[in-house]
């Protein structure tokens, strides 16, 4: 939304891009502890939890400032379901990026693909991502995407305000809240506490089907498959295992006063209380 010097306040709609990942629902996974395996068969999928906060925030910004929201997902073909959900939540159009060569890449590869998607979309003022996904949870994609697009990164946002070209963000850091300001365009990663995502209404769900949903792939994006995905990843996943517990599991039952006494004695014996 750069303003021509001298021209009258011209109101270009705010162009927002929001990125989400389509993930396996980790709360519904079946864990086979005996065989140290996770059973992915028939696992449910969803929009990564905090990405819903990013989508919600995009919609709130649009409700306040006006604008157009493009939602982007790099994922498998069945991410279409999640993409429609994002449209139902209030995004205006979607770009679903599916290509076998994009699979099993590291987070930098995903960020690079997203940067090419953003370039193809062309105009934008604000990019929103979450701070980390519920599946691999690296938190790499947001800052890496900002780097590839040479944008300022305002991370851990607990509040976002846009006024004209000015973007103000409260960042929830380890030691407090920092308020920063910059000019758009910029990339913001949102914290979970920023809002409470809405549930789309039936009407919204039905009308989502009529919104523009384009599928792009490596070819449409002009990406050489040898520079993305597994082929170019600098970090590889070697294996997945189930965390094991080696706790004593001594359980006291019975009368509260007896159980409490036994526990107190055990804690003293362990030297755990002094």
């Amino acid at each position: 939304m750069t303003q021509q010097p001298g021209t009258k306040e011209k109101k270009n709609p705010l162009e927002i891009i929001v990125c989400f990942k389509h993930v396996i629902d980790e709360t519904e996974l079946r864990i086979d502890r005996a065989n140290n395996k996770i059973n992915f068969e028939g696992a449910k999928t969803k929009i990564s939890d905090d990405d819903k906060n990013a989508i919600e925030e995009a919609v709130r910004i649009k409700e306040k400032n006006g604008g157009i929201i493009t939602v982007v997902c790099v994922g498998p073909a069945d991410a279409k379901k999640s993409t429609k959900e994002a449209l139902a939540m209030g995004c205006d159009r979607a770009r679903l990026i599916v290509d076998p060569s994009f699979q099993d890449g590291d987070a930098l590869s995903t960020a690079y693909i997203l940067s090419q998607v953003v370039k193809k979309i062309g105009k934008f003022d604000l990019i929103l991502t979450s701070t980390g996904t519920t599946d691999s949870y690296t938190g790499i994609v947001g800052p890496a995407l900002a780097e590839y697009l040479d944008l300022p990164q305002l991370t851990y946002a607990s509040k976002i305000t846009i006024s004209g070209n000015k973007l103000t963000v409260d960042r929830a850091l380890d030691d407090g809240i920092e308020t920063v300001e910059c000019e758009i365009p910029a990339l913001v990663t949102v914290s979970r506490e920023i809002n409470q995502p809405r549930f789309p209404t039936l009407i919204q769900i039905m009308s989502a089907g009529k919104k523009e949903l384009l599928e792009w792939n490596a070819q449409t994006l002009g990406i050489n498959p040898s520079v993305v995905g597994k082929a170019d990843s600098k970090v590889e996943v070697k294996s997945l295992s189930v965390p094991k517990s080696a706790r004593k599991k001594v359980i006291f039952e019975g009368k509260p006063e007896d159980a409490a006494k036994q526990l107190a004695e055990a804690l003293l014996k362990e030297g755990a209380v002094k």
């Binding site: 996974l29 920092e178 600098k234 509260p256």
Partner: protein, 316 residues
């Protein structure tokens, strides 16, 4: 053999990264950044195992915003050409490491547990899928990693590393400014470093009832932590008391979970506790699979008894 470079926004955490570097048998260099005189910071990290301290002092680094900070780290990195660079898994560390990795076109591993060297890179474990699984990941070649806090002891000793001041630092122009800062109230409560934590969960029926747990905490010199419903959802306790995946990871000597079911996102935050105690009415609660000692019973009956017994035994 190239060494490792470490940076943390906290000097104490930087010392943990020094220990890691030494453990990997590498020469360790530390970066210190700021906008003022850096001699205090430099002194703090002048410990055994550190060969060189690189200093960059610049007005652009007064708030350690990501843009100029990454520029500064890049300039040290290109001078040192280390094999690995380690950050602490603080919020700052986790926003800097990915951006630096993207700029340098090298791998990035965040929240790397048990980092080790392999033939040509670094191998580490990461908690994924909401804590349900551990992924073993490996970099092909040089990499940047963020390391969970307190995974290693702080390096110590008085050493005299080389100190190199980088004078020609030129940050890229930036349009981001800090308007203000509201420090978290530095309450007395710091669950991160607590030796004993008693944590409350949804088994408590109302906020006022937490008083019985506070009583127990007082007898044990413990701090009160909580599961997420009590912090984010109900607001009975501030968010900095939340233990778990989206809260704080704690590692106390004793962790007592009271009325907490033991969902994976909670377990992830307390799994490294030395001794775990659970009190829950439901004998099938998952927390009983993750505890050393447990009582199946009503917390409202048990906590006052336990407090009374311990008070007596400990002579308080």
């Amino acid at each position: 053999m190239a060494g490792v470079l470490v940076y943390s926004d906290s000097s104490d955490s930087a010392l943990e990264l020094v220990t890691l570097g030494s453990k990997l048998g590498r020469e360790v260099s530390v970066v210190v950044l700021g906008s003022e005189d850096l001699s205090d910071q430099t002194k703090k990290v002048s410990v055994n195992g550190v060969s060189t301290v690189y200093q960059i002092s610049s007005d652009a680094l007064s708030n350690l915003l990501a843009g100029p900070t990454v520029d500064a780290l890049e300039s040290v990195y290109s001078r040192v050409s280390p094999d690995y660079m380690f950050f602490s898994s603080t919020k700052k560390g986790k926003e800097l490491a990915p951006r630096l990795a993207a700029r340098l076109k090298i791998g990035c591993i965040t929240d790397a547990m048990k980092p080790e060297l392999n033939e040509n890179g670094i191998t580490a474990e990461r908690l994924v899928l909401g804590g349900n699984a551990i992924a073993t990941v490996a970099s092909r070649g040089p990499a940047v990693a963020t390391i969970p806090l307190r995974a290693f002891e702080r390096a110590s000793g008085n050493a005299s590393p080389n100190v190199i001041k980088i004078e020609d630092f030129q940050p890229r122009p930036t349009r981001t400014i800090v308007l203000g800062r509201k420090e978290k109230q530095k309450g007395q409560v710091n669950i991160k470093d607590a030796e004993i934590i008693v944590s409350a969960g949804r088994g408590f029926k109302k906020k006022e009832d937490l008083a019985i747990l506070e009583e127990l905490a007082k007898v044990l010199n413990a701090v009160v932590g909580a599961s997420r419903p009590l912090t984010s959802d109900l607001g009975w306790l501030p968010e900095d008391r939340q233990v778990g995946l989206s809260g704080t990871t704690v590692k106390p000597k004793l962790y007592i979970a009271v009325g907490i079911s033991g969902q994976i996102q909670h377990l992830t935050g307390m799994r490294e506790s030395k001794l775990v105690v659970a009190i829950n009415t439901d004998k099938n609660a998952p927390i009983f699979q993750e505890c050393d000692y447990g009582i199946v019973g009503d917390l409202y009956a048990i906590i006052p008894e336990l407090t009374k017994d311990l008070k007596l035994q400990l002579g308080r």
